[in-house]
């Protein structure tokens, strides 16, 4: 790591460590009962217990797998439909009222219905997250396609590109910044919905959401906090990873604005 990157990480790291230290001090000095606020030391102990007896790793793996599965489904379907809508006015007109009506619905409210249709297994869980992530992805993709500079399309035509080549070699790359934005929103939503679905319908008894709700049911607040910490860290790691992949896949899109002249 370069020196600059180390320096750039110092302040955030310090603020986190400082906050935790302050929290510990306040709980100890003021004698706050754990039911109001658990101490970081108790949370750390619950966390290490979960790590040692394996419950942390199994449930984390299940949740992460569900996140990627749900997201992949949403990404493929969302980008495909968005591109199709951009290409065909008819498809866009058919799809538009449905998207407009369904997007604002809080998908969490669909959970009871989904359980009735799909039970509480993997299908339900992945369906919940895929449905939620689908909307920001398809809408961002469509917006991205619509704002493609028509000059680029004309230039490609002039250079002899077929309609299909224009789709893959011009429209898709030009829409990438918007598509990436949609994928980011979609990923955030996926994570939330996977955990929520695990919490509400977790009959197959695995996943971080399941851990959360179980610990909550018996008021094991240390374990609840420990699970939340894990989810926060995982969420941050996934989002950073996504940024990294974005930069590799489309370096021109991530730092738009670094131009000469």
């Amino acid at each position: 790591m370069t020196r600059r990157r180390i320096a750039g990480l110092t302040l955030p790291a310090l603020s986190i460590v400082g906050f935790i230290a302050l929290w510990q001090l306040v709980v100890e000095l003021r004698g706050i009962p754990p039911i109001y606020l658990p101490a970081p030391s108790a949370i750390a102990e619950a966390l290490s217990q979960m790590a040692l007896d394996g419950t942390l790793w199994i449930n984390l793996a299940v949740t992460v797998l569900r996140i990627f599965a749900g997201f992949s489904v949403a990404a493929v379907c969302g980008v495909a439909l968005g591109l199709l809508m951009g290409r065909s006015h008819i498809v866009a007109q058919i799809a538009d009222p449905w998207l407009a009506a369904l997007y604002p619905l809080p998908k969490i409210s669909l959970i009871p219905l989904m359980i009735i249709w799909l039970g509480t297994g993997e299908t339900y869980n992945i369906a919940m997250s895929a449905i939620s992530a689908f909307f920001p992805i398809v809408l961002s993709t469509y917006a991205g396609v619509q704002q493609v500079d028509q000059g680029l399309v004309l230039a490609a035509r002039d250079l002899g590109a077929s309609a299909r080549q224009i789709q893959t070699k011009v429209i898709l790359p030009a829409a990438i910044p918007h598509i990436f934005n949609g994928l980011h929103l979609g990923m955030g939503v996926t994570i939330i919905l996977v955990v929520a679905a695990e919490m509400i319908g977790g009959s197959d008894q695995r996943g971080m959401g399941y851990l959360l709700i179980n610990a909550g049911q018996v008021m094991d607040t240390d374990k609840v906090f420990a699970s939340l910490v894990v989810m926060a860290v995982i969420g941050a790691v996934i989002m950073k990873l996504q940024r990294f992949i974005d930069r590799r896949a489309a370096p021109w899109a991530v730092n738009a604005g670094a131009s000469r002249e």
Binding site: Y36, I115, T120, M219
Partner: protein, 347 residues
């Protein structure tokens, strides 16, 4: 003449003094729409609380577990608590409350919970307590982990020779009406429900009721009233009066449970508070309304046994608290004494 004026003035002053001394105390109470809370609704709607100078402000919780945080935050002074691992954990973690009054036990054979199985399981031969062994590897539905429902179900499974920790898959988090639906769709194979829902499931042919949940724990304690510690310190007398009204109403409640046809007014009142006014639905599963003892004493043995179970056997609770940190039975004792001595409701 002067004597008359003086005596009238004195009487007025005494009356004001009496009024000031007995100005009503407000008590914020957490309850639920369950028949086990019957004595409370009788005491409220028949004026027993107000007769004793109490204004009760009722907050209804669909799930007893949700009432505990409201008490911790100070919103409630007295609340229903169901016996659960969550309750023991809360108190162990410093929730400032004590159990002080009975609110539902199995001692008179009027346990208010049932075990139902899906039609599929019934057809496969699970028709009574002895057949529960056939539920090995199956899904058992409960409202929450560590709940009284899970306790009863676990004991019943143990009696049938299974290890409830590993031999069934516990499905928790669904509400009771949802559990009924899930039984009907084979999403769970069995469930421990409030009798109200168990008999509904049977009547609707969704899931046959195969046993009385309370029968596995004949001394069992289902629920209780808890009081916030600082409320006891500041207004102990109000807590005593609360207990008095409950204990007096418990007598009527138990009588109505035994012979609902003879107590139509009481039954109508109870139906309004618990089954949306449907009297037939309420009487259809009498007397399994859970009983509240008239001496107000919860079974501390049963409660401590449950704590041991959750801590040692199931590992859902972390700490074993002594009786002194769980109970304050002096309030109920005093309430019984005052009821017997003063007969405040017989005037």
């Amino acid at each position: 003449m002067l004597l008359r004026i003086l005596s009238r003035t004195l009487a007025l002053l005494l009356a004001f003094h009496a009024a000031a001394a007995f100005a009503n105390d407000t008590v914020h109470v957490g309850e639920g729409p369950f028949i086990s809370g019957g004595p409370y609704f009788i005491a409220r709607d028949k004026g027993y609380f107000s007769k004793l100078g109490l204004d009760v402000d009722t907050r209804i919780f669909m799930d007893g577990a949700l009432a505990v945080p409201a008490m911790v935050s100070g919103e409630l002074d007295i609340t229903l608590v169901t016996m659960s691992a969550g309750l023991f954990n809360s108190i162990a973690k410093g929730a400032p409350m004590l159990i002080f009054l009975d609110r539902g036990n199995n001692r008179t054979g009027r346990g208010g919970s049932s075990i139902n199985v899906s039609n599929t399981m019934y057809a496969a031969g699970v028709t009574g307590p002895a057949d529960l062994a056939k539920l090995k590897g199956k899904k058992f539905g409960i409202t929450a982990l560590g709940s009284i429902n899970q306790y009863e179900a676990a004991l019943a499974l143990q009696k049938a020779g299974l290890d409830p920790r590993t031999d069934v898959q516990w499905v928790s988090g669904a509400s009771q009406p949802d559990l009924v639906k899930m039984l009907g769709r084979d999403l769970v194979d069995a469930a421990d429900l409030a009798w109200q829902f168990g008999s509904y499931a049977q009547d609707q042919k969704l899931a046959p009721l195969i046993m009385d949940g309370g029968s596995v724990d004949k001394d069992g304690q289902v629920a209780a009233y808890a009081v916030r510690k600082d409320f006891v310190t500041a207004k102990r007398d109000a807590a005593v009066r609360f207990a008095m009204a409950i204990m007096y109403a418990a007598r009527e409640f138990n009588a109505a449970a035994g012979a609902p046809a003879d107590h139509p007014d009481t039954v109508a009142l109870l139906a309004k508070a618990t089954t949306q006014g449907k009297v037939d639905m309420l009487t259809s599963f009498a007397p399994h309304w859970t009983a509240t003892s008239e001496d107000g004493m919860p079974s501390t043995d049963a409660i401590l046994r449950m704590q041991d179970y959750w801590v040692d056997y199931f590992h859902l609770a972390s700490e074993k608290l002594p009786a002194s940190q769980l109970f304050d039975l002096s309030i109920a004792k005093e309430a019984r004494q005052r009821l017997d001595r003063d007969h405040p409701f017989d005037h």
